[in-house]
């Protein structure tokens, strides 16, 4: 792997961590911790996006504990799907980026729901637990209740991540854009 790619991945991981922390200090109701992953996927393709997601969560694991590391497959899927969506040309328009955000959320739900249900009993220790508790109490199966919660908490975040990453790539100076083959998929 070229050093340039390594540095890009490192920058994007640091962005995930930095913005994730900023979002919680600004008390915004979204995570913002996958903008770097989507950005890496747009600039260098799905595999690099996947690696960015994986290492981001491994690092969160080193910083804060193993829960983030358990969700590493989720972060990998975000990078992979974002990169594939870019190859399909979804990031050429604003509407496309929103659709990409929805598609990413669906895949995230597929991967995150089993992890949350079987590893953590569907519990997160956050306000979302009330929602899951209510749904299961009124007769929903646990798996479905968790899936609904995952969609509900991720949809806005993933759409925002896609829109921000798209706007950043659009606003890159030409000098930097020309270094990345993937950037031409983002008009």
């Amino acid at each position: 792997m070229k050093n340039r790619t390594l540095v890009l991945i490192a920058l994007c991981i640091a962005l995930n961590i930095g913005l994730g922390q900023a979002a919680s200090t600004l008390k915004l109701p979204i995570f913002l911790d996958s903008i770097g992953t989507v950005l890496a996927a747009l600039l260098m393709g799905p595999w690099i996006g996947m690696a960015t997601g994986l290492v981001t969560n491994l690092l969160w694991g080193v910083i804060s504990g193993p829960v983030a590391a358990a969700f590493a497959p989720v972060a990998m899927v975000i990078g992979l799907v974002a990169g594939l969506a870019a190859r399909k040309g979804l990031f050429r328009s604003l509407a496309g980026a929103v659709i990409a955000g929805v598609v990413i959320t669906l895949f995230v739900t597929l991967v995150a729901t089993p992890i949350r249900t079987y590893l953590f009993g569907g519990v997160t220790g956050s306000g979302a637990d009330f929602f899951v508790a209510y749904l299961t109490a009124v007769g929903q199966r646990l798996l479905q209740s968790v899936a609904l919660t995952v969609i509900w908490t991720n949809l806005v975040d993933k759409i925002v991540a896609c829109l921000v990453a798209q706007a950043v790539v659009r606003q890159l100076p030409g000098r930097i854009r020309s270094l990345f083959p993937g950037a031409e998929n983002v008009a």
Binding site: V7, A10, G65
Partner: protein, 690 residues
Amino acid sequence: MRKIGPFRSFLLWAVWVGGSMGLPAFPFAAVMAGLSAGAVLLWPRARRRAKAVALFMLPLAFGFWLIHGGALQLFLGVAAQPSRAVWALGLWLRILSVISASQLWLEYVPPPVLIRSLFAGRLPASWAFLLASPLLLAGQIRARAAQVREAQLSRGVPVHGTFFERASSLTALVFPLVLGLLNELPARSAALDMKGFGLFPRRSSLAGEEKTGPRPASEPAPPKYHGAMAAVREAAFLAPGETKPVLEIPEFSVSPGDTAFLEGGNGSGKSTLASMLSGAVPEHRGGSIAGEVRVLGEDVTSRSCLAWSPDVQAVQQNPVLSLSGCTFTVREEVAFGPENLALPPAEIRSRVERALDLAGIAHLGDRNPACLSGGEAQKLALASALAMNPRLLVLDEAFSRIHPADRHSLASVLRRQAMETGSALVVLEKPGNASSSWSAPAGHFRDGRLLPGSSPVPVKRQSSGPSLSSGINDDQPVLEIENLSFRWKGESSPLLRSVNAVLRPGERAALTGPNGAGKSTLMRLCAGLIEPERGAVLLGGVPVGSMAPGERAARIGFLFQDAERQIFHSTVAGEVLFSLRNSPLSQDERMERMRQALEVTGLSGKEEKHPLDLNAAERRMVAVASLSVREGDLLLLDEPTRDFDPEWQGRFEEWMLSRPEAIVAVSHDPEFSGRLFPAVWSLDSGRLTT
């Protein structure tokens, strides 16, 4: 007791996790949870982590009770399943066991230990790099986010407030941050190439057990080359998609043992030449080379930047960008490059000590590279390059933050070093004070060409001196600083003690003082960006702290040290017009204002350019133009002339003198402050003398 290494302890942790998740919950997981949670509480070093465990496990317990405890079912009148509550308790205990064991492992292997052992171990170095460098970068990002936030706050972007205000200000925060980082990417990756990272499949490491390096110590020396270290003839650099060259070099060469000193102003082509000579074109600097550029007798494009690193080193202006981000002491940072060359440990050690001595930072060997001052970091970047034993060393404004007295001694050390080792030195500097440290310039950059000899004496556009009459100005003061005291949170001694000053309309004051005296802090207090401990800053009689950000931004213009922190539009015009977004002017008037502002700042014709594609002086002028479209009461300029060559400085001085506002400017240049500022405020040991 033999110490268990990080890798063994990781295996132990993995076994523990496997057991906690796989064995029956009762009694195994319960006992394991008790053991590991107990260990967190009993091991004194880990006790501080107990809070993190509790903060995670208690809400989780509540969630488990809520979802699986059956309370809600009871409330809603649905049949509860007691077996689920038992299962949930078991799962909670499993999680407790894993979390506690992980905290123990994290305490046992803190990040520096982990990263050192990753680099010394068998894992590919690229993975170690990915796990190490984001930690340093995240620190840099946090610091920069604070600067961006401040810059935007001073432009009236609301940072607090309703959800929609916070969400909309997020773009103004996120974009300068992300764009700035990506803009620096080529510089960072070129620096990593310069350190030879990834050149050999196995690197040696000083941190691991003592062993000989992967390369044999008695390697046959490469045949010594005795011709010119760099020879350029009829060469040009072309930007991507352009046919007109950015830089033309009719003839330039430097022989072994020689020092070539070249002068050039902002954007004249110094960095372009540095990229050409170090093999960074086209990988880190998009574009192409035409003509003949030979380094050590070889065509420069025949090798990649990485492959040139054992022979050619280029040091760039911003030292922070050349840190590897994988090391925790200055000594390790200097050793990082030689380690990548897979040299034997003894050789690495002697190279490191010599490089630290040459750069004059042997006393900083154990300091954290991330906590150095600008000048110290530049010396570290220089030492890292010297430790690679380059045969050609290119220094691109590599001394800008080093104290002038040290520059002289470094220059003579480097010249002597080149002569003794038969290597060559190419020094690129702005015309002006740096030149006295070196011999007469061998060449200068002019209108996109490298010409021989020194540049014609720069016609410094001497701006007229203070235009104020010496009579007493007894208008109502614009700015009043009354008994102002300030201390940073957690500091015992105050930074500012009862500072008093008055500035009347149209007056100009220069703020001077040693590094770290609190000049920038005083400016921030004047702008209302931070709150004083005691005393007040009054703008036209009203405390600045009590004004709304929008009103404050309309009356106070703040030029920050690093102007690019605020840039988030993709055109110069968009960036300048952002300052007028809330003004009542019509569209035509706004465009007219912008046109005038770009004209006085020398940016006419650059409306549609990307601000980050401009050179350092022009980029700073974009920030100046953003101030220029509006008229307030007070301008605060923090080291305004740092990036300017004499020509841009002249233009800036003309702009400053034409402004109607009262001005406070931080400056390290006594000539500049003496000539243009009737009042000099000097700040030292927390006291201000006016």
